[in-house]
Amino acid sequence: MNEVTIKKTKEYVKKNKSIKIYVCIISILILSSIFAFLSPYDPTKIDINNKLVSPNKKHIFGTDDLGRDYFTRALYGGRVSLTVGFVSMIISMTIGTLIGAISGYFGGRIDSFLMRTVDIIMSIPSFFIILIINAYFKPGIASIILIIGLFGWTSVARIVRSETLTLKEREYVLCSKTLGGNNFWIIFRHIIPNILSTIIVSSTLNVASAILTESSLSFLGFGVVEPFSSWGSMLRNAQKYMQDAPYLAAFPGILILLTVLSFNVLGDMLRDVLDPRNIQSQKF
């Protein structure tokens, strides 16, 4: 964080006051999923006498078809959704950054091989991904994290590659080279730290898309399955009770929307603030 960044952040927040709300939403969601155990209800305790109770003072989100407190389930579901989002983001950012930096730095045959691989992975139709999950994996949290992580790195690799291409021509890289720094030293010490802002922006947007993908896969029954639940799998269950208990479908959906929305808005803010190319255009 240098002075310019802080100044730009202040300026941005002044211009877009609503950004504070989105930061608050993200913090509340993260904190509440960490401290979900503080809820007085057990998310798995079945109470048939109290099934499908509409939201009231005791159960603020009501109860589901097995009489479980829906608010507590939503908290634990958020824990799963956010975990999947963050862990798969870390996987895809790591692979994407490494492949992109290697591809851009070494160039030549390595570059064209890696970039053609990226092209091929990007051209795999999305329904094929479901097929792979259905055929090779058992639905579960670990496999969904792996799948989203392993398919989400391609766009990151492209961005990192193009940044690396310009950075590797800089004088300090040349200097490090003449002083005898080896290639991997240069990549980890000089190139990756200098594209950190780009990486931060893409990882924020990556979390948003990972959460969205997880919820769709879980909704189709290929993602998180019982006894665990995520917001997506809660919606899958809620589909059966649309007529009698529409609130079962409303709450998890609103939570997904808010989370993804907040990460998208935050990502755009970070891009405006951190991108060095915006410095000239904003005239400081």
Binding site: F127, N134, S216, A238, A250
Partner: protein, 316 residues
Amino acid sequence: MTRFVIKRIIQSIPILIIISIISFSIIRMAPGDPVKVFITPQMTYEQIERTRTRLGLDKPIYIQYFYWIKNLLKGDLGYSFINYQPVIKLIKERIGPTIGLMGISMIISVILSIALGTISAVYKDKFLDKFISKVCYIGISIPSFWFAMMLIYTFSLKFKILPSLGMRSIGVKSTLDLIKHGIMPVIVLSFPNTSILTRYIRSNVIDEMDENYVDMLRSKGLNYKRILYVHILKNSLLPVITILGMNLPSLVSGAFITESIFGWPGMGRLGVGSIFNFDYPVIMAITMLSSVMLIVGNLVSDICYSIVDPRIKLIR
């Protein structure tokens, strides 16, 4: 131009072969066994093996692949394992509804996003712009299946004005009925696309407004509205071409979530069904179809680029 197109088509052949090899082996090496669908408890081991031979699954993978390629070149995509119908016939039945649904929602997204993007750029930082960009944020963040569920709840369950399932009511053959069935799927499909395109067009129009040619045209005394609608807008439409090119495969492969929720008899539902049943010939056909469309989409968008922007030359 013709030479460029021919060259690109020849270049795409090895890519298609690689994609077909990869997808063929991923499908065939999967642990799920399609013969299981046919097994009944009374079947003997011999009968099971006979079924396997009849489906051509007893030979090594590479031989199966060559058979598949040979038949493909003859225009034969094989038969579905599930209902023994030719895959071509299945696709012919399903592709019409999908092209209709995806095509209409694409056209709506393009028209709406050009209008909204331009309005947003002209009224930059005003209330209207802020409102449009808020709605666009929701559009890119909303889970499509949840949006569909909420629409079904509001319009089908609560107000009972729109049917929630299928493409036509049984026994009714009117256009109005078809439109009524199509409204909600089209809304669900076009909301995210419109939002993405609007954001691109807005930022492009804003960038183009600062270009030198705009000042030049104004100094020549041209009406600003004319500059905006004719010159700026024409130059801002490049991203639309790229995104439409990228979306071309979905025109034939459909939208599996939206089609499943609304029971739309299209390719997306065919695809999801074939995955559940390990129906290899259908899966392969859909994969190859969408890969071909992807390559065609890239080619068409490259050609369109060179027509819209003469600075880009079709090289190689």
